[in-house]
Amino acid sequence: MRKAVIAGSGAGASVMALTLAEAGWHVVLLEKGPNYFTGLGEHWPPKTVFSNDNLKANRCFEQPDPDAYPRTFRTSAGQKKGYYVGGVNELPVAVGGGTIHYGAAMPRFWDIDFKQHSMLGPVDGADVADWPFEYADLAPLYDHLERAIGVQGDMSAMPHDPVLKHAPRSRDYPMKSGPQKRASILVSGGARTLGLHPYPFPSAINSEPYNGRPQCNNCGFCNAYGCPTGARGSALDILHRALLTGRVELRPETMVHRVEMKGRRATGLRWVDQHGRRGVEHGDIVILAASGIESARLALMSRLPDPHHRIGKRLMFHYFTSGFGVFLDQRLHAYKSWGAETACMEDFADPDFLGARAFAKAQGLPYIRGGLCEMGGSEDVIPEAQFYQYILGAIQPQQPFGRAFKELMRTSLLRDRLMGIQMLGHDLPYLSNNVTLDPKVRDRHGFPVPRITYAPGKHENVAQEFYIPLITAVMLASGATAAAAVPANTPLMGAGGVIPATRHILGGMQMGTRANTSVVDEWGRMHHTDNVYVADGGVFATSGASNPTLTIMAVVLRMARRLAGTA
């Protein structure tokens, strides 16, 4: 029996494990974090200790505690000191990875995302590239995964231009769309009056019982919360099936810190567990699926062959542009919802959106792309209150507390009267945005932590400049009394740059056909090794302009079927 050893247990790892196990492989998954799901691989859906609990989420219940697993951040390699140590764009460290608390948004990438260099052309200063395959190669895998995980959506409500034109579908979603919530209804209405094309957000959230899991009851503790009922589809759907084969072992609280190499061949993954026990899990192949940042870190810590210095390069996070609309005539109760937003809109991801080409040319760029807009989100109570604390410090420093705080909480401009738009802007790949090993800072086991170097480039800044007035216009057209759209990543008030927190971790282990300009080949194998594979968002050659989880799974499914000989 062939054996694969995988670092990680999230979106990519789960798909790899199931596909290999179904083809008869023995698979061992080593997961750094704990398992919050009792009975996974035995009964379904598993029992969980996740709940409607804002505080627990803020206390790093599933996120890596920055004290145990810090990262460092700087905006450029030239920033020699004073950079930030703490949490930087982390995904959960727990069985199921990012999918245990993602918003479950499941849009597809577009044809131009996979052939960006040949279809849209190069951009000065950026490292734009094609993927080694195209949208049509992934389309059947998207279909398969939408059914395997359970995605709701409504093909008839999706606009041909630009969505279905760029991401054609041969069949509808396995579940119909659930009810739209109040804030999403209002913002979608506003967008339509401007000639835009919002539609129900494709989401891995049950609008009816599916996969043995219940229908979602709209509790609203969704994005950035573990699902208490199991109504959300995730990597667990895949992991459970993998465990049922009897050929998959899942070991939580076991951190991989080194790929053991003999020449070009990996012999296994070296690990340390919570109790300090150490060992090596040997296998015929090893798979890094710990997220773009952590897989690159692992490759760097293992000194895997990298003659062209590509490991860790081209990190892409998506730039987020946030729109805030405030209603003085009504409360929107955005917290009553399935998902964070029940509608989305992809018009601004289109490089040919009306006026975008001309604006780009005037700024010396061949094109600009915004991204998918999540329509109708809001904020949680505790962060809302924390923000009022902050603004009271700025507005009335002589008494930054007291009755004014309670007045703000009761009025709730920035939660219950708030209608948010979040645009997930397309990040171009830059060699200067990357992961390296921090020369000084160590994690709790004494290993060097990832140092993130990241700043938006000219494309991202120009695109925001173009789309900000449009986002503001959508909110005003929706009936908001006051509206403002702002870039989320502009340095502010002396801060050395805003710490990235988009949770979209792409690139770092880029896929490509040429060994001198990429890290892995089209099947996920690292070019200068015989049997080291990468199976997470790290392999993305471009960032797309929407939520990446479904694409991560589809790309990994393509690799896994080839490895398993079932392609």
Partner: protein, 261 residues
């Protein structure tokens, strides 16, 4: 007699026996520590705070989020005291006094919307990494609170609780105390709006005050509740008007996340 192999490697028998006999003791350690602290806090109904420390924190958090007893204009509006913010902070500072530290309330739901067991009351054991990080964090917080109370008393020339409301406000806003006030404000927020299993939000007063239902599983919301209009017209005055007046700047600060600290 077969010697313990370790004895020959630099361990004396006394040391081996000593270590062995300490094992049951180590298991009791959290309870013992709690007991010794309880002795220090003798007569106090709290695990960490002495009666005086609790009174000072109560007085200070009443200024941060005043209730009906603290401000006439807040009649009918519970504040930090009514939410029992002191109990929340005390629970956090003594989290490791329990066999399973009171850091992560359990799930999948409480019994506020269903009959039966409140699963949130059974706390989830942190893993080693979490426990290590939180032990260190709470140790630092304990020191900060002890020093913070001492500093508040010193600024009040003896006893902070005896100072007038105006003096208390001045002290809390003064530059020497600002960092502690900011920490206290953050914990006041958590104590008012977190699930009551963490010790605060007494009688759900914090959530009721702002019209938030809180944890709603396994009930959830109906389609009608998702979509229903909720007309509520306000004519902004005071601080709300000020926030609206500088809305673009406020939005920028909000989006940047700098306020998350």
């Amino acid at each position: 007699m077969v010697d313990d192999p370790r004895v020959g490697e630099g361990f004396t028998r006394r040391r081996v026996l000593g270590t062995a006999s300490l094992l049951p003791l180590a298991a009791l350690l959290p309870e013992l520590l709690a007991a010794s602290r309880a002795e220090a806090a003798a007569g106090s109904p709290y695990r960490f705070f002495t009666s005086h420390q609790a009174a000072v924190i109560d007085a200070a958090t009443r200024r941060i989020a005043p209730g009906p007893e603290d401000d006439l204009l807040e009649a009918g509006h519970p504040g930090a005291h009514e939410c029992d913010v002191v109990r929340y902070i005390d629970t956090l500072l003594s989290a490791f006094d329990h066999r399973v530290p009171k850091l992560f309330a359990g799930g999948p739901w409480s019994n506020r919307h269903t009959k039966g067991v409140n699963h949130m009351k059974t706390f989830v054991k942190p893993d080693r990494a979490q426990a290590q990080a939180w032990r260190k964090r709470i140790k630092e917080l304990q020191r900060t609170y002890r020093n913070g109370v001492t500093a508040l008393d010193a600024h009040a020339k003896g006893d902070f609780t005896k100072a007038s409301a105006l003096q208390q406000d001045r002290i809390l806003a003064s530059s020497g105390i600002a960092a502690f006030t900011s920490l206290l404000f953050g914990h006041t927020i958590e104590g008012m709006y977190s699930n009551p299993e963490y010790g605060g939000n007494k009688g759900l007063a914090g959530w009721k005050e702002i019209g938030f239902p809180g944890d709603i599983q396994p009930r959830g919301y109906t389609t009608h509740e998702l979509q229903a209009p909720e007309i509520s017209i306000i004519d902004p005055t005071g601080i709300v008007a000020e926030v609206l007046a500088s809305f673009p700047q406020i939005a920028q600060a909000y989006a940047s996340g700098v306020w998350r600290g």
